[in-house]
């Protein structure tokens, strides 16, 4: 599904040049659950953003579903992203002015799904995430765990085949974190590919494979026994 060839990402300011990724080569297959780990500043999030088509690599190739996409325009990347990729962030990133329902509905609006179909799918997703009773609430009225469940509902609503999660349990207590990880694992079992950046070894334990990054390099790749 995803393949990178000698991926390089350099951040430049007027005086400083920082190499965030240095010749990263990796391959992620359909249905895999991959965890990316490493110390702060090693390039985990940068890698995730590039895979998620939110950012462009400075050099190297990026293949997504067989297409070479690193030179795609903004418009092409948006189209590819909205149909194939769901995002879950550490800080949830819900829109404060929209209700839970409207936040989850948002991707479907951009996919031009009909109103009745949207309603049906959003209700299903909220039921599934066990927050249907909060549909009319605003994000600030929810606990962190509930917000993250809304974010996951939003990520899966468009039925993407890839979910990118950036420290999804980072802002949660252990109970809520556990719940979120259960949901992600469940989605993976249903066939969704998941790439997750995390600091937490126990969260990483849920994955099939752990990619260790250090100073922008892939250091090790550990295959794990599927649980």
């Amino acid at each position: 599904m995803i393949k990178t060839n000698n991926l390089v990402k350099v951040f430049r300011t007027d005086e400083v040049e920082t190499t965030a990724l240095n010749n990263v080569n990796l391959e992620i297959n359909n249905g895999e659950f991959v965890a990316i780990m490493g110390p702060s500043g090693c390039g985990k999030s940068t890698l995730l953003n590039i895979i998620g088509l939110l950012d462009n690599p400075s050099q190297g190739e990026l293949h997504f579903n067989g297409y070479q996409v690193e030179k795609y325009t903004e418009r092409q990347r948006t189209n590819l992203r909205k149909e194939n990729i769901g995002f879950v962030f550490q800080s949830f990133n819900l829109i404060d002015e929209l209700t839970v329902f409207e936040n989850v509905e948002l991707p479907l609006l951009y996919l031009k799904v009909s109103s009745s179909e949207r309603k049906k799918r959003v209700n299903e997703a909220l039921e599934r995430m066990n927050i249907a009773h909060r549909a009319k609430h605003f994000p600030q009225q929810l606990s962190g765990g509930q917000q993250q469940r809304v974010a996951i509902a939003r990520a899966v609503i468009s039925k993407p085949n890839l979910i990118l999660a950036d420290e999804p349990t980072g802002n949660l207590d252990s109970g809520n974190g556990e719940e979120v990880m259960n949901l992600l694992s469940q989605l993976n079992e249903e066939g969704t590919t998941i790439v997750m950046v995390t600091h937490s070894p126990s969260d990483a334990d849920r994955s099939h494979r752990i990619i260790q990054l250090f100073d922008g390099h892939v250091v090790t790749e550990n295959m794990r026994q599927k649980l």
Binding site: L54, N79, E83, F89, E102, L106, L109, S158
Partner: protein
């Protein structure tokens, strides 16, 4: 999608009440001013358009060419012109003369007397050219009967009450009997032609003993209606030389002005006419709307910190930039529509006030399609212009930057520039208003060469000289009445001119020079306190003194005379001598200079009596004057005017303009302050951390305060410099339109700067002081 947009906007509104209020009020103020100005412009441009055939109607005017190359254009044309045009030019279907009844007429209806000034004398074609609605009677052939009168509804009601008066009789000046043949609607507010009643021309000939065959006397307005499909330019060519066919060596060419342009455009080259004000205020409307739009831009982008996350998330889940631009434009349109709602209420409330200010009766008529479309255009433009920059700016955020945490986008410079432009425009408006006021004050108090104060005058009808002598004898006895004199015109409205003047030593190549003429009685110079610089004034010691002339300085210099006393002068073939030279005085608006003037004593032409009264107890003196009048002329009501009021009338347009300018300047300042407040709150938000850090490292409150204030004042300084330059050049140009003008002083500029700093300081003081009082721990913890 629209539902979601509405939800987002409405929730944003209720969550950020101050922000939303500032935004909506700013836009509402801008839209209100624009709508008020548009209603006025619509009114001005609607003048005379209610006539069915307005596109075929033209006003014929004269271009008089003078020796110095000047062309003087006047609507006054000779009496036989209308009929000649109709006869000689096949394209002309109808033609009419129009002239106001000279002076006042006494109308007797069933034993009651009414003094009327609003009569018009017209030809029968008047009713075929103009479409004033008929209420009673018939106008088709009414003026075939020389004793017909047509009344306006107002006058018909005044004379006869609420009945059909057709067939009733009225008597004018106790002698001329007329039968009412029709009643017309009152002349509309937007009609250039006004009338209380209409009379046929034979009355004019009889009553004023006027030679209607005379091609050399210009007295009448001539209006023509062309046949459908007639070519206007062909007609213009054909009429151009008509006067010279009838007048030997004529310096006159005829031309025509479309009747639709009659109200707004001047026929004199180089003078724009009222259209100038229409255009000026159209620009003012745009400036105020722009200031309001800038406000919105400013505040909307100031919120970018808050909105950036939303933009990022929308982009991550699939929004394209185009869609986001639409979203933000939709938002600004939504705000504008709410503002429009408030504006409509404000316009409804302010319209009477605004109408008073510009001396017009204006109405908000939503059924008027022009106004309806103009409103839609204003809303769309405001929405799009306001939303354009925020939409372009906010939609440009790359989601990755925000997600990564680099959310500090720098639009601060653009916002500062917007506030600078707002203040530039406001300060420039302020300075312009100040200068307009100064110029008006200058005109009102400047030495006009005579004393216009404490003069009252009355118009005297009937047998003038008989009544005048009696009145003068009575009035002069009243304590407090200093001088009494008579003249054909008061020195505020000289409108009698001739080029038929000869003097010894007049050079052939000097060609024709236009001289103003005034016919006055003894004591005229004394009554108006004019200064005689050579010779003497008219005096009974010299008998009637009718073949002597007093000229003004300009006339002396045009005639190239060093010592004019005793020189021979011939006017209209009448020979006489110059007996005095009077210092130039302004008998017209100070916008124009002083023309050469010849004054002679001609009792036959007198129409007004001027009275100089003392400064004190004027009501008592005027009451005594009234009593004497009532004794001598009991059948005519006494009405008088003050010369100084007439003088103010000259500057009415400027006076109105200055009031409007003042109002709009206030509005501009208010909106600009809202903008500054928005900018200040944004910067305060941004600078909170910097201030906290400075405090940690030892800055005290005063130092922080100065640091923040300095930044704002620097930008205000830019605005003031730009406004000074702009206002200076624009006002220099405006002042150059006056023959007498002030020189722009530094005072108003300094006041504008001080005022701007003060306003800016007051606007941002609270915000800055709240920031400098902040506890650093709060900010740093938050960050």
């Amino acid at each position: 999608m629209i539902k979601i947009l509405l939800h987002t906007v409405l929730r944003g509104l209720s969550r950020q009440k101050v922000y939303s209020l500032i935004n909506i009020l700013g836009l509402a103020t801008g839209v209100t001013c624009t709508l008020l100005i548009l209603i006025w412009i619509e009114f001005e441009t609607s003048y005379d358009t209610f006539h069915q055939d307005v596109k075929q109607i033209y006003s014929v005017y004269e271009n008089q060419k003078y020796a110095d190359g000047d062309i003087f254009s006047v609507y006054s044309t000779p009496s036989p012109l209308a009929e000649t045009l109709k006869k000689d030019i096949p394209e002309i279907e109808n033609a009419t003369r129009i002239v106001s009844s000279w002076g006042q007429l006494t109308v007797n209806v069933g034993g009651r007397n009414f003094i009327e000034k609003g009569g018009k004398i017209v030809d029968a074609d008047f009713f075929k050219i103009f479409s004033f609605e008929k209420i009673y009677g018939d106008t088709t052939n009414c003026f075939l009967n020389p004793n017909s009168i047509v009344l306006s509804q107002k006058i018909a009601n005044k004379y006869f009450g609420d009945i059909n008066p057709v067939g009733k009789t009225v008597v004018i000046n106790s002698k001329y009997k007329f039968e009412v043949s029709a009643v017309l609607e009152n002349a509309r507010e937007n009609s250039s032609i006004t009338y209380d009643f209409l009379l046929p021309f034979n009355f004019f000939q009889e009553f004023w003993d006027y030679d209607l065959k005379d091609w050399e006397a210009n007295t009448f307005h001539t209006f023509v209606k062309l046949r459908k499909n007639a070519n206007r330019n062909d007609v213009r060519k054909k009429i151009s030389k008509i006067i010279s066919k009838h007048v030997l060596n004529s310096n006159v060419e005829l031309d025509m002005q479309a009747f639709g342009d009659y109200h707004l455009y001047s026929i004199n080259k180089g003078s724009a006419g009222p259209i100038w004000y229409v255009r000026l205020f159209f620009i003012v409307a745009i400036v105020i709307l722009l200031i309001a739009c800038f406000n919105y831009m400013n505040l909307a982008t100031a919120r970018s910190e808050r909105r950036s996350k939303e933009v990022a998330i929308r982009k991550v889940v699939g929004a394209q930039r185009r869609g986001l631009v639409g979203l933000f434009l939709g938002e600004s349109l939504f705000f504008t529509i709410i503002a429009l709602g408030i504006s409509i209420v404000l316009v409804e409330l302010l319209l009477p006030e605004f109408g008073d200010m510009i001396n017009r009766h204006l109405e908000l008529n939503p059924g008027n399609y022009k106004f309806f479309f103009a409103t839609i255009i204003v809303v769309l433009l405001t929405g799009i212009v306001s939303g354009s920059y925020p939409a372009a700016y906010l939609s440009s955020f790359a989601p990755i930057q925000i997600i990564r945490g680099f959310s500090r986008h720098d639009s601060a410079l653009v916002r500062k520039i917007l506030v600078v432009i707002q203040f530039t425009m406001s300060v420039a408006l302020f300075i312009s208003t100040g200068i307009i006021y100064q110029q008006l004050a200058f005109l009102k108090r400047s030495d006009i060469g005579y004393n216009k104060d404490n003069i009252v005058y009355v118009e005297l009808g009937g047998n003038f000289n008989n009544n005048y002598e009696q009145l003068k004898n009575e009035w002069i006895k009243i304590p407090g009445v200093n001088w009494v004199t008579a003249a054909n015109q008061m020195p505020v409205n000289f409108a009698n001119s001739t080029w038929d003047v000869n003097w010894s030593g007049k050079l052939k190549e000097a060609g024709d020079i236009l001289f103003q003429l005034s016919f006055v009685d003894f004591d005229f110079i004394e009554t108006f306190e004019m200064n005689v610089i050579q010779g003497r004034t008219f005096s009974k010691q010299y008998g009637a003194d009718t073949l002597q002339f007093i000229i003004n300085e300009s006339a002396a210099s045009k005639m190239n005379m060093e010592n004019s006393i005793g020189e021979k002068l011939t006017i209209w073939g009448k020979k006489g001598h110059i007996i005095g030279v009077v210092k130039d005085f302004n008998f017209n608006s100070l916008k124009v200079g002083v023309d050469p003037l010849i004054i002679m004593r001609n009792p036959a032409a007198f129409k007004y009596v001027g009275i100089r009264i003392g400064k004190d107890r004027q009501p008592v003196i005027i009451n005594k004057i009234r009593k004497s009048w009532n004794k001598i002329l009991p059948e005519i009501p006494f009405t008088y005017r003050r010369l100084s009021d007439d003088f103010d009338y000259f500057y009415q347009a400027e006076s109105r303009m200055s009031k409007l300018f003042l109002s709009f300047t206030l509005v501009a300042f208010i909106i600009s302050c809202l903008g500054l407040f928005g900018l200040a709150s944004f910067i305060t938000e941004r600078k909170a951390r910097e201030v906290a850090m400075r405090k940690v490292f030892g800055a005290n409150m005063d130092q922080v305060f100065h640091l923040l204030l300095k930044d704002f004042l620097k930008w205000m300084l830019f605005a003031i410099a730009a406004a000074w330059t702009m206002a200076y050049f624009v006002m220099e140009w405006w002042l150059n339109g006056f023959a007498y003008r002030i020189h722009i002083g530094i005072g108003i500029f300094l006041i504008s700067a001080m005022l701007t700093f003060l306003i800016a300081f007051l606007t941002i003081y609270k915000l800055i002081s709240s920031l400098s009082g902040i506890a650093p721990a709060n900010m740093l913890k938050y960050e």
